[in-house]
Amino acid sequence: MPPSRPRVALFVTCLVDLFRPTVGFAAIRLLEAAGCQVEVPRAQTCCGQPAYNSGDRESARELALGILESFAGYDYVVAPSGSCAGMLKVHLPTLFEQDPNLRPRAEALADRVYELVSFLTDVMELKTVPGRFQGTVTYHDSCSGLRELKIKAQPRALLAQIPGLTLQELAEPELCCGFGGTFCVKYPEISTRMVADKVKDIRETGASLVLAGDLGCLLNIAGRLKREASPVTARHVAEVLAGMDGQVPPIGESRDG
């Protein structure tokens, strides 16, 4: 059972900070709706995946030290990203495997880290959401969320609470979109082919909007949709759940549309 009004630190994620601040505010709104007391530690930057996945353990470890520092003392640490939450929950402790002092701290942090949507359903047992939506959407499961954190049912359960929203599943919801962090710029041709396949699947659902829980995938998918001049738009699932989709145009769209 969670404390009645848990203190939750929001791990904003670097992509949300830079590209899509609205997702961070949507996360705060949802966490508060679920009864959490939300704080945003100032000293955070990035979870360290670019270094960790490029083989630069030392840089990843140095960043992780800062995270251990800034995110100590909260009941929970929540990120609006399966990928960053997976990094903190699954991978960060491995950076301190040889360190008897820091390893317990890293593991203690990992125990308290959650991805936003699964935290809302699994820990806070949130049943109703503020969002309102009319129309058909589809959902892309980000690989880290799906396979590292087993997030599949949770976003669907919350979306089902929105009257008027119909979810049309992808033919291959578990297929990677080709983002893969630095992969998308190291192997752009392969990445483009993968996102083109994903976008084909999205377009074939007939949905007007694709949702996902990770901004990396979303920038990739939205970028490809726009390149194909598709009318399908893309948003982070938290924007819709929080009812903040009216405040900002879809990803890759301008205010004038």
């Binding site: 590209f19 270094a51 490029s54 083989g55 840089s59 800062g66 396979r147 392969i190 970028g223």
Partner: protein
């Protein structure tokens, strides 16, 4: 076999532009994924078997010296010979010597990736011995002089018209009206031609899916029956196996066998699972008179005790490549050596060196699907990451990537500087992209914008806006 892994990017580029290959890849991918999912769902114990299989292999690897010795003793007790070989060269020499002593002119071969690894066919040919591949997929590749593109379905990359064309070209002396439009025709023709080869061969060479320490048996798993004809009809049977194939007992083997076909082809069990233990016994009416096992290390023992040891659990089912979106996009040849896909991305750097195969562990999104379907629960993404760490340590990571990472890490470790830098970047990009909401091209972002637009940031960072709301809240 020539290693073209350093040209992975170029190989991939060609593969992506090859329409016929893309057609073959799309067909095969959905086939194998659906079959594996159905087979796994059909056995409620599947997940428990995976965990147990992993324990069995871990136990075996931790005592590999013991089990190999017991295995070899039992082979010899059954009248077989064991040839311990450290390198590919040793194995080629051992096989050649057996063939020459048998006076062999032709040898038939069952499908064996290990013979590809050691370049056996070329070696035999150089010494005047004709190797004949008998697995249907391997057979057509031998006609086409191509390496396999997949470890269980060697001709994964071919379409029916490729088969028709190759059979027409090579099976001359047939009536011109002879049709190869149908799969049935091709199969019938191959069966006829290869049957003669089976009967004429002096030596049969197979791989081994497992070696059983308890009994001294080598095990092969096939659907065609070609492996059985290869090891039954000639006077001499040679089984080539790498040292990590050993398992202690028949019961251990069956835990793995319950997973193998389901993970590979989606069958509950392969058509032929055959245990060979020594040569023909007194009174037997058939079977080889000599039985040899060529037991090859070729870099495996050096993987023990280190971070790549779990790779030695691999049973070569190919589920990882069947579910890999990168393999699905570029096919097996792009990987540039014997083992493609995720298992190849881990194994190839171990066997040919990470300086040659450095691309392979990098060409992954870490989507994790390979690990999710691996019957032996091999943490493939984690091991690819280990290779990236080795590359980084050895300065094999491209200089631009290193410099970029260094700069980024410097800033990311300093939140105040980072706030300032992100605020400037978001503001600039947001302002530049305010009209369209996205960029069709950007300097230094060609990798991204080659195939997709870059969505523009909202313009203000989260932290800038959050600070504003906090101030307003307090006011």
């Amino acid at each position: 076999m020539l290693v073209t892994s350093p040209a992975f990017k170029e190989n991939a580029s060609h593969a992506l532009a090859d329409a016929a290959l893309q057609k073959a890849l799309a067909r095969a991918r959905t086939h194998f994924q659906r079959r594996r999912a159905d087979a796994a769902a059909g056995l409620p114990e599947f997940e428990d078997l995976r965990a147990r299989a992993r324990e069995i292999k871990d136990h075996t690897l931790a005592h590999l010296d013991f089990y190999l010795e017991r295995y070899a003793e039992n082979v010899e007790r059954a009248g077989g010979f064991v040839h311990w070989c450290r390198t590919a060269e040793d194995a080629r020499a051992a096989i050649l010597e057996i063939c020459e002593r048998a006076g062999a002119r032709t040898v038939t071969k069952g499908k064996s990736m290990l013979t590809e690894e050691i370049g056996l066919n070329e070696h035999l040919e150089r010494h005047g011995i004709t190797p004949v591949e008998t697995d249907l997929g391997e057979y057509i590749l031998q006609l086409r002089d191509e390496p396999p593109s997949h470890i269980i379905a060697p001709a994964y990359h071919l379409n029916l018209d490729d088969w028709e064309k190759s059979f027409r070209e090579h099976h001359t002396g047939l009536p011109p009206e002879r049709a190869f439009h149908e799969r049935r025709d091709i199969l019938t023709e191959a069966r006829k031609v290869l049957r003669e080869r089976f009967l004429a061969a002096d030596v049969g060479i197979t791989g081994a899916n497992f070696l059983i320490a308890e009994t001294g048996s080598s095990v092969i798993v096939t659907n065609e029956g070609n492996g059985d004809l290869t090891q039954t009809l000639p006077h001499v049977h040679i089984a080539l196996a790498s040292i990590e194939k050993v398992v202690p007992t028949l019961e251990d083997a069956f835990c793995l066998l319950r997973l193998l076909a389901r993970s590979a082809t989606g069958q509950d069990f392969s058509v032929y699972t055959t245990f060979s233990t020594g040569p023909r016994r007194p009174g037997d009416l058939d079977g080889p008179e000599e039985y040899h096992v060529v037991l090859l290390d070729n870099g495996r023992s050096a993987m023990l005790g280190g971070e790549f040891q779990p790779m030695l659990r691999c049973i070569r089912c190919a589920a990882c490549m069947n579910h890999c979106p990168v393999y699905g996009a570029v096919g097996g040849h792009a990987y540039g050596w014997v083992y493609p896909g995720p298992m190849g991305a881990v194994l190839t750097p171990s066997l040919v060196g990470v300086d040659q195969a450095g691309h392979l562990p990098n060409a992954s999104t870490f989507c994790g699907r390979c690990e999710a379907v691996c019957p032996m629960q091999i943490p493939l993404p984690q091991m690819m990451r280990h290779w990236r760490e080795r590359e980084f340590e050895r300065h094999l990571t491209p200089a631009t990537v290193r410099t970029g990472l260094g700069l980024w890490a410097y800033v990311a470790r300093r939140p105040t500087l980072y706030r300032w830098a992100t605020r400037a970047a978001a503001a600039t990009l947001g302002w530049l992209g305010r009209k369209r909401g996205r960029f069709a091209s950007l300097p230094f972002a060609g990798g991204w914008t080659g195939g997709r637009d870059l969505p523009a940031p909202e313009g203000e960072t989260f932290f800038a806006r959050y600070a504003k709301t906090q101030r307003q809240g307090k006011a």
